[in-house]
């Protein structure tokens, strides 16, 4: 039987994969993808909780939908800026963007 803990485990794993991606990928777009992983882990969590803990309300699902929407905005914003930077400086490697430091 697949229980809550399985969902949670999967979500946690997904979150960690996302974190790994964020920390290691050189390409800015890959980093954005890592973030998406993290957010989706949250969504799994929310829906699983909603299902197992409080099936009478849909608030968890509601939240998940909000998160999906916001994440979309986030990605588009991120990509837009990456694009603009690419136009300016011809780079997408995230560790070369260090004009601002110290």
């Amino acid at each position: 039987m697949i229980g809550l803990s399985h969902y949670l485990f999967v979500a946690a794993a997904l979150f960690c994969i996302g974190v790994y991606g964020v920390l290691t990928k050189k390409n800015a777009i890959a980093v954005v993808m890592g973030i998406e992983f993290m957010l989706n882990a949250v969504n799994i969590n929310l829906i699983a909780f909603n299902h197992f803990m409080a099936p009478n309300h849909v608030i968890g699902q509601l939240f998940a939908i909000f998160i999906i929407g916001v994440a979309a905005a986030e990605v588009s914003l991120g990509l837009a800026i990456i694009l603009s930077l690419y136009r300016q400086r011809h780079l997408v490697a995230i560790d070369e963007m260090d004009i601002l430091k110290w």
């Binding site: 974190v19 964020v22 920390l23 290691t24 980093v31 995230i94 560790d95 260090d98 430091k101 110290w102």
Partner: protein
């Protein structure tokens, strides 16, 4: 008359203020103001003295200058007032008399000097301070005027401030006195703390109850430091010879007759304090005796006329101190009085000579007796008086001191005193034979001084002759009183002559004169050869036992060195610590700043590491 006693110091003060405010530009007017106001004080002093002779009752008047209250109770009162008793009356007379004569003399002596008015202003200020000290009724006021006297001394020694020696000497005088005054100040504050008063009368009422206690011993010695400084007792004597850089009349007034006598006067004034502890008295006596001998030996070899007189003064002050120390206030004060006359005379005479010769080295003088007879002969009278030749003033007072020394069983001091008498006569007549008689030793055009200068000399010469008589048995028989019945501590003494002692001291003095005559007048024995023979001793004496050098070394190496060490601590250690802290914080910041690498992923890493760390902490 006593109610006008406050006028005695006030008149010179008024003169000072008038000169500073009004007559500074009119030189002669300044001199006239100073002299006439001083004369006024003299007349007042004389009348008060006469009144005291008729009725020797003490009068005391004061105002509360400053009171401090705590909790509605008065906890501290500082008084300003006057206490007129025979002692003060005598001292007033001496000060005003010498001051007036010196002022008169100075009109001639200082003629043409740029700072003529300044000079008279200073002297007036000095006279004011000295008289304020003399009539003071409490230690606080005494201290105030004590310091002012010191200030005037500073100003007058450094009168020719452009001479580096004069500037040095004035500083030296002030600072040496400061060291001594430090003890004095601590002493009187201690007295106040223990006995609750500064007032002489109140203190004498309570001090008597604490005979020979440790606290009185300490306080007595501390207070005595003050007189040691002013009266230039060893080891504070170094300033007095150097003080001769000032104009000569100043030397006569301040550094021979009055200010240096302030120490003696203060010991006499606070006699109850010192007399209450035997060991203090012994210390006073031996310091006096030692200074007397010590200074006399130095005087033997000096070449500068004023320095010889200065060391002589030191020696005589030691004599007076010794007299006080052995327990006879009368004899000390008596010697002070007579000494004031003949030492002022000698200094003024020396001034007259210097004025004429423009040199102070006795070996550049000689053959003056024909050129300036009044000066020379009055000088001889003064020297005779100083040497203690019958019947001049010095004879009586010196004899008195030697007598009391023996009476109080200070045999050692008696022998020492006699020896000093011999030395005194020797160095004075060495001076006379070299400087005044004999051949002219340099190309000088000496001439007699003007009347304003010779008149004081004559007056002082007369006084040097007769002043001693007031403490003779004959005078006592004649008037029914004498100096020692007028001025005394505890009980009056009737003057008597101890012929054996008098004979001995006269013999010593005559011996001194004789030896000087042999060496310097007849030149049977070569002085140079003597010096060669006792080269070590001669050099030692010529360099004043190297005490100045010692002090200089202590000051330069010790105090300046200490200052440098402290300065180093300030600049390097303390500043280093605080600046170092600032630098450390700053460099920490600069190091920490490098963590901000600009790499986005490192920022994220920091974030996740922090979360992980907190999680580990939380789950623990």
């Amino acid at each position: 008359m006593d109610q006008f006693a406050w006028l005695i110091p006030t008149l010179p003060l008024a003169a000072f203020l008038i000169i500073v405010a009004l007559t500074y530009r009119f030189k002669l007017l300044s001199a006239i103001v100073a002299t006439s106001f001083s004369l006024g004080s003299l007349i007042l002093a004389i009348s008060i003295l006469i009144q005291k002779i008729q009725n020797p009752k003490t009068t005391e008047t004061f105002i509360n200058w400053l009171t401090i209250t705590a909790n509605q109770q008065t906890v501290l009162t500082l008084q300003m007032g006057y206490l007129i008793d025979p002692l003060a009356a005598v001292m007033c007379l001496i000060v005003t008399l010498i001051a007036t004569l010196v002022l008169l003399y100075s009109i001639g002596y200082m003629k043409g000097d740029e700072g003529f008015s300044r000079y008279f202003a200073y002297i007036s200020l000095f006279t004011f301070s000295m008289l304020g000290l003399v009539i003071s009724n409490n230690y606080f006021q005494t201290f105030v005027f004590w310091e002012l006297v010191g200030l005037c001394s500073y100003l007058l020694i450094g009168f020719w401030f452009f001479k580096p020696e004069a500037a040095d000497a004035s500083k030296k005088a002030f600072i040496t006195n400061r060291w001594a005054d430090f003890g004095f100040l601590v002493g009187i504050i201690g007295l106040f703390t223990v006995f609750g008063s500064f007032n002489f009368t109140e203190l004498s009422a309570v001090i008597g109850l604490h005979q020979n206690t440790l606290v009185l011993l300490i306080l007595g010695l501390l207070v005595f430091l003050g007189p040691m400084g002013k009266s230039a007792m060893f080891p504070f004597h170094v300033w007095l010879p150097d003080a001769m850089e000032g104009p000569t009349p100043i030397s006569a007034l301040i550094h021979a007759a009055t200010m240096v006598a302030a120490g003696i006067y203060l010991v006499a004034r606070g006699y109850i304090l010192f007399a209450s502890v035997d060991s203090v008295m012994i210390v006073i006596a031996y310091i006096g005796g030692f200074t007397a001998l010590f200074a006399a030996t130095i005087a033997l070899v000096q070449r500068d006329i004023k320095r010889i007189l200065a060391f002589s003064t030191l020696s005589q002050l030691g004599y007076m101190m010794m007299a006080l120390g052995v327990g006879s206030m009368t004899s000390g004060m008596f010697h002070l009085t007579t000494h004031a006359f003949f030492k002022a005379l000698l200094f003024l005479g020396a001034g007259s000579i210097i004025h004429a010769v423009h040199d102070q080295d006795i070996f550049n003088m000689g053959g003056l007796v024909k050129k300036m007879p009044i000066t020379v002969w009055t000088f001889v009278i003064g020297s005779l008086a100083l040497s203690g030749i019958f019947p001049l003033a010095g004879f009586w007072s010196k004899d008195e001191i030697l007598t009391v020394t023996l009476q109080h069983h200070f045999t050692g001091l008696f022998i020492l005193g006699t020896l000093v008498a011999f030395l005194t006569a020797f160095y004075m007549f060495r001076l006379i034979f070299i400087a005044l008689f004999g051949d002219k030793r340099s190309n000088h055009h000496a001439h007699e001084s003007s009347w304003t200068m010779t008149l004081p000399l004559l007056i002082l010469a007369i006084l040097s002759i007769v002043a001693g008589l007031v403490n003779t048995p004959w005078f006592y028989q004649w008037t029914g009183m004498s100096f020692s019945t007028f001025l005394f501590f505890k009980e009056p003494e009737i003057p008597v002559i101890h012929w054996s002692i008098a004979g001995l001291s006269s013999l010593a003095a005559l011996g001194g004169i004789f030896v000087a005559w042999i060496i310097y007048a007849k030149q049977h024995i070569s002085a140079d050869k003597l010096a060669e023979r006792f080269k070590g001793a001669h050099t030692l004496l010529l360099n004043k036992y190297y005490i100045d050098e010692l002090y200089g070394w202590v000051f330069n190496k010790g105090m300046i060195g200490l200052g440098k060490v402290f300065n180093f601590i300030d600049h390097t250690l303390i500043d280093g610590f605080f600046d170092g802290t600032a630098t450390l914080i700053r460099s920490t910041g600069i190091q920490l700043r490098l963590f901000q690498t600009g790499r986005l992923q490192q920022y994220a890493l920091v974030l996740f590491v922090a979360i992980a760390a907190m999680t580990i902490w939380g789950v623990r």
